[in-house]
């Protein structure tokens, strides 16, 4: 499912115009993006949580050429699936 399909499903689910469902979806995604950009974590009970991990600069290698390169410090978001979602996803495996 992609974002436009989710918006369409949301419009039908709670009976609101498509335009409004799109605006609400953008508000939710923007709010989560902002939080992560500010270094905050996210915790949605039953769905999962996001935390930002910080990496210091390190010496890496270009896997193609084998040349040594310096990798700049970076931050990456990590998602941990919530218990309820994890169990339901796994239960559906036939």
């Amino acid at each position: 499912m992609n974002k436009s399909e989710l918006i369409e499903a949301l419009a039908q689910e709670i009976n609101i115009p498509h335009r409004e469902a799109a605006a609400i979806t953008n508000t939710i995604i923007n709010t989560m993006t902002e939080a992560l950009a500010n270094g905050e974590s996210i915790e949605i009970r039953g769905f999962g949580s996001f935390v930002i991990k910080k990496y210091d600069s390190y010496e890496g290698r270009n896997p193609k050429t084998g040349k040594k390169i310096k990798v700049k410090p970076k931050k990456l978001p990590f998602f941990k699936v919530g218990k309820d979602l994890r169990e339901q996803v796994n239960a559906n495996k036939k």
Partner: protein, 95 residues
């Protein structure tokens, strides 16, 4: 600081003046329910600009109890993984 569902409801309520608090709550709940259902049905969820949630099947494998060292078989399972979009990664590293 941690963003929770209550914060999402608050933001939706604040940014959409025509919605009551109850409607904002319904909208956020429905958004999460539909997202979850997609994954539960085994279908990936792509939120462009944010990232992609993948449903992956893992094979059974031999593992060990790290505490006792005993060998055991881990059953095949289905898991959810997340890959952040380039846009999200750039936003997080912009500061």
């Amino acid at each position: 600081m941690t963003l929770t569902k209550a914060d999402l409801v608050q933001q939706v309520y604040k940014n959409h003046e025509n919605l009551t608090k109850a409607q904002a709550t319904d909208a956020v709940e429905a958004f999460l329910r539909l997202s979850k259902n997609s994954l539960i049905e085994g279908s990936d969820l792509l939120l462009s600009g944010f990232g992609k949630f993948n449903v992956k099947d893992k094979n059974a494998r031999r593992g060990r109890n790290p505490q006792t060292g005993d060998e055991l078989t881990l059953d095949a399972r289905r898991v959810v993984t997340f890959k952040p979009s380039g846009i999200l990664r750039d936003r997080i590293n912009a500061s």
